[in-house]
Symmetry: C2
């Protein structure tokens, strides 16, 4: 039996990618043993075939891990778990895994408060890195790292913003958007109020508000609008003003606001006419999901991209008083059809893969539920994250925007 | 028993208005006797109360005229019928009325070919004026009258266009629109291909296409887009290029195209998720009607308007060759809350009322199914129409746009 025995829970686009890539890699000269688990055989077979064609050795296990006993059996021989289940299954599975005393890297992005599992993880000696994708995940690592660099230079970060979005390369009216996952998750982002920090105060804005245009090198003009994506950064990062926005091609937010205003995202059933003069009760949201699944599907053979910008701005002591500084990171990733990897799978999967490798080789050993920002905070971990991301072809372009003028105190990015 | 005994079929917004106004008027010194018929009591009671407060004497009759025997009984003593039924009931009722040998003015705008009833009407000696509202109706009268004036001056009309729309005064995002009737009728206008005549050729365009901006005096900028509104003008008017467009506040068409593109106007049932993990089949169109009924309702106390522009353009012999001429009519009508009259009821109702009075006093006697354009073709009828419209406060502003340059032969308005 090899030393490292990894079980990946969930064979969706990202889970399958993570399992495949882990099965191709080695650690300390030893090949990793990887088992991919899913309720449905389709995703398992696809990942198996892809892993084989890429030279990986993947095992699969068709099992419904929403059953606790099944899950315990599935992870019996595992040394590390990677959680890539749908959000609504994520929390229960995570708790069971921690109860069994195993370490986990999780990207199920479940809605529950994951810190509730912190003392359980510490008592059981498990290292649990949660929300470890591109955003939440890598974006937060960059933000935390930039804020630290500000302070290292004797300055003070005043504001932070993260702009992130997945987009199709081919733009088609009306939405100019394709969703790699269920439309309901995207609609949820467009409905849930966005929590923003302004001068230390927590403020809520409606989702899809605060639309602005930004220029993104290599793409052109994108729009950015408020969504509720700060998550753990509201607690872990000490910067007075923080916002997370979603990136789309210009005009998308207005169209989604129209659908929301029309009532199409409401889960409350409405009585509508049915054939034969009868009536039936239907939730507009259920129909919206069906219609948008068609409208947002990526046509075969077309590619997508992931764009992210992280900025931390503030004041730095200069020769003649305070100067304004912005540290910026831009990430632009395209899918790679030769390795069956959408950019969404690559950018979400690689931070999780690298974190998993850090736990396996003993680089990351702190027990407890850890926000991904921890990796941006600890320089050795962060250096390794950057090096391994670059090796995977995910490039982060940093820039330093300086201005002799002092930063406007009231400015909120 | 008075000489004139009028039965108005349909007590909706327009039918109720027509009945009320006819009940207040007299002809040859004699008061008209008017009976309003509807299946539901609510509209009857409202019209009765309004007629009384305005000094009219209205009778009501609650009856379901979709039953042929009921209809025959209802019109037993009538000397003239005004048809204001929903479109799907209009044709059958019209045929029954003509079979009984009675004359009719109809505004039910039914989808069937009304000329199919022409020989029946002629055989029975009935004068049947159909589609006699604002558009179809008054707009066609103006178009035909302008084309005739062109030829009277020795010129040749080359193109005709009619732009018409009902709009709320208060503009609210996203639709800036309220519908005085069922949303399904409006959606139908946004789905049915628009038949247009171009240089003598019949061409079909998608509804909501051909969006252009026009300046309307008293309102500002409106958008106009193709809808299928020419109806009988395609047959009755000999002008090589003709188009009808609907007027809305700018941006409306794009939003409706978005909803259409999304599939929300499709009558084909889709399988969607229902509570408890079950599935149900729902027609997106049925939900769209429910949602748009809310979104397009006119808030209490807010007013609406009707705007129409009719233009006939072409060449006129000048001293040094052909000159370009456009004859234009603009109609802008606001509702009158003191007489409980929306502009939609006023502008649709008055052409029908005036046509009814022409039949009653023997001015209009030709038997057969008559397109409303006939009234614009015959100068005495047209003069009277204009005079009585003006007396009702509906003003048509004509203008004559001349240019020394010859009209571009290829130009389609």
């Amino acid at each position: 039996m090899p030393e490292h025995n990894i079980v990946v829970l969930g064979g969706g686009l990202v889970g399958g990618f993570i399992a495949r890539e882990l099965s191709r890699s080695s650690l300390g000269g030893e090949r990793l043993r990887v088992t991919l688990v899913d309720r449905d055989s389709a995703g398992l077979e696809r990942s198996l075939a892809q892993a084989q064609s890429l030279g990986g050795r993947l095992s699969t296990n068709q099992a419904d891990v929403s059953d606790r006993d099944v899950l315990l059996k599935v992870i019996e021989e595992a040394t590390l778990i990677v959680g890539a289940l749908p959000g609504h299954l994520g929390f229960a599975a995570l708790r069971t895994v921690i109860e069994s005393g195993r370490s986990v890297v999780d990207i199920s992005f479940c809605p529950e408060d994951l810190l509730a599992l912190d003392s359980l993880a510490r008592n059981n000696g498990c290292t649990v890195v949660v929300d470890c994708g591109v955003m939440p995940g890598l974006g937060g690592m960059l933000a935390v790292n930039f804020a630290q660099r500000f302070r290292d230079e004797g300055g003070e970060p005043q504001s932070m913003r993260i702009l992130v979005g997945g987009l199709p390369i081919v733009r088609r009216w009306p939405f100019e958007y394709t969703a790699p996952f269920s439309p309901s998750d995207v609609i949820e982002e467009y409905v849930r109020p966005a929590r923003v920090l302004e001068h230390g105060k927590l403020v809520e804005y409606p989702a899809l508000s605060g639309i602005e245009h930004i220029e993104f090198p290599g793409i052109g003009t994108l729009e950015a609008f408020n969504t509720d994506g700060l998550r753990s950064l509201l607690v872990t990062l000490n910067v007075p003003s923080m916002v997370e926005k979603t990136l789309r091609y210009p005009g998308h937010a207005e169209k989604m606001r129209l659908l929301r205003e029309l009532g199409l995202f409401s889960p409350a059933p409405l009585r509508v006419a049915a054939p034969g003069g009868s009536r039936l009760d239907v939730a507009p949201l259920a129909l919206a999901e069906t219609l948008l699944r068609q409208a947002w599907s990526l046509p075969d053979g077309e590619g997508e991209l992931t764009a992210m910008r992280v900025e931390v701005s503030g004041a730095l002591p200069g020769e003649s008083g305070a100067e304004a500084l912005t540290l910026r990171a831009d990430l632009l990733d395209y899918g790679d059809s030769e390795s069956y990897a959408s950019s969404m799978a690559r950018t979400t999967g690689w931070p999780a893969i690298i974190a998993a490798r850090m736990i396996l080789d003993g680089t990351l050993v702190r027990p407890g539920v850890l926000a991904p920002e921890l990796i941006g905070q600890q320089e050795p971990l962060w250096r390794r994250m950057l090096v391994e991301l670059e090796a995977a072809g995910i490039e982060i372009r940093e820039s330093r925007l300086e201005s002799a003028a002092p930063p406007a105190q009231a400015a909120v990015l």
